[in-house]
């Protein structure tokens, strides 16, 4: 064992690293906005209120802010999520009725880590434990929709109110969608082999994971995620900055505004090929909201981006028949359209 401990190398204790990290984060957080202002208006001598000044300031203030938020909050969220693996959620859901199950399942969807490559084992695991189909779908809708990147960007760029409204709307779509799919009795569209597995899964031994493991895992995951989405984020913020500085408000209002009854379906269509690229699109959406795009349209756009994922539909084909995939996609899409119109109607 001595050779093993030698090979693992020496580092300062984790508590020291975490403390230094948190302090550095806080300093950066409070210094970044004044720095961006100083850089654009004092150093570059851009005029306040000018097109270029607005665009540069938007870009410089948003980029560090978004990265700080991602690094900080995604790490914390990932750490919290490590306590809610689907294996544990499944045990909590088993034996519940469709209604209570759908509500709980949609709520768990928020805190359970999810990646589309895990969608199939997750589906099999739920069905195998006898969890009703509707409850399973409530989870499959809410889990990708309320994802950490979307949440962080919404909170940081739009403020807590819109982030919470987004979560509430996502939960509603997931619960209603789950209840609907449950009521339609679509069990025949699940591949037969999945049913044959029912009850075969072994009770799994609890695997021990230490706090140090969880913190290191969370940080590694976050760094990897940030590295992956950085190019999209920069492009998104760049386009957002151009819109912020240059796009005329009338143009945005004409296309996405309340006067255009098709604005909601149009933005959902635009969102289809952008699946799960919340990083690149939310900064653009922020600028559009600032230019007068109504909240309902904005929410519909973001929900469509995170929840309608073509790769996930394709991968689910391994466990469910195309008819059920179509119904799943249809229910989610209609749910998103309803949210869009509803919010446009109630928020003037």
């Amino acid at each position: 064992m001595t050779t093993l401990s030698l090979a693992r190398g020496r580092r300062p204790p984790l508590s020291v690293i975490v403390t230094v990290g948190v302090i550095a984060w806080l300093i950066a957080w409070f210094a970044e906005s004044p720095l961006a202002d100083w850089f654009s208006y004092d150093l570059l001598r851009l005029e306040r209120g000018s097109h270029l000044g607005g665009a540069v300031d938007f870009f410089l203030a948003d980029v560090p802010k978004v990265f700080l938020l991602l690094l900080g909050i995604v790490t914390v969220v990932t750490l919290i999520r490590s306590f809610f693996p689907p294996e544990r959620v499944r045990a909590a859901l088993a034996g519940r009725g469709t209604f209570a199950g759908s509500v709980a399942s949609a709520a768990f969807g928020i805190v359970t880590p999810f990646c589309s490559c895990s969608a199939v084992p997750l589906f099999i695991g739920f069905v195998e434990a006898g969890i009703p189909l509707g409850v399973t779908f409530a989870f499959l809708i809410s889990s990708p929709m309320v994802n950490e990147v979307a949440l962080v960007l919404l909170w940081g760029l739009f403020g807590p109110e819109i982030a919470l409204v987004y979560v509430a709307a996502g939960l509603t779509v997931a619960i209603v969608g789950g209840l609907l799919i449950g009521a339609l009795h679509l069990e025949r569209y699940v591949e037969p082999y999945v049913w044959e597995l029912q009850g075969t899964g072994g009770q799994m031994a609890e695997v021990k994971v230490t706090w140090a493991d969880r913190i290191t895992d969370a940080w590694r995951y976050t760094v990897d995620l940030v590295r992956r989405i950085t190019p999209y984020l920069l492009i998104g913020i760049g386009i957002g900055a151009l819109i912020h500085g240059y796009a005329p408000t009338e143009l945005v209002a004409a296309i996405g505004g309340r006067s255009n009854p098709f604005a909601v379906p149009i933005v959902v269509l635009i969102a289809l090929p952008l699946y799960s690229n919340a990083a690149g699109t939310i900064p653009i959406v922020q600028a559009l909201l600032g230019k007068g795009m109504p909240l309902g349209t904005t929410l519909a756009f973001m929900m469509a981006i995170t929840a309608i994922s073509l790769p996930e539909f394709i991968i689910l084909r391994k466990v469910i028949k195309p008819q059920l995939i179509a119904i799943f996609a249809g229910v989610v899409t209609i749910g998103i359209l309803c949210i869009g119109y509803l919010f446009n109607a109630i928020i003037a």
């Binding site: 294996e87 099999i124 075969t200």
Partner: protein
């Protein structure tokens, strides 16, 4: 000889776990066979829902995360 199974459909995380397992075997200096399990039925039979999962000699030692080569090496001795 130890048997290590990496459970997962072949996503980047599964490949990283497999690489870590190889490194662990080298660190531990023992003989071990590393098998990739991509069949969903087998994965489900182990009760694993969040991939990648790691199984040593038929026992699930980790799932939903990528343990370091050092951790895996310790499990190989356990």
């Amino acid at each position: 000889m130890k048997k290590i199974e990496v459970l997962g459909p072949g996503c980047p995380n599964c490949q990283r776990l497999e690489a870590n397992a190889r490194q662990a075997v080298a660190m531990a200096g023992i003989e071990a066979e590393i098998v990739k399990v991509t069949d969903y039925r087998t994965i489900a039979a182990y009760g694993v829902m969040s991939t990648p999962g790691l199984v040593i000699d038929g026992r699930v030692v980790s799932y939903g995360r990528i343990p370091s080569p050092g951790d895996i090496a310790e499990w190989l001795f356990a």
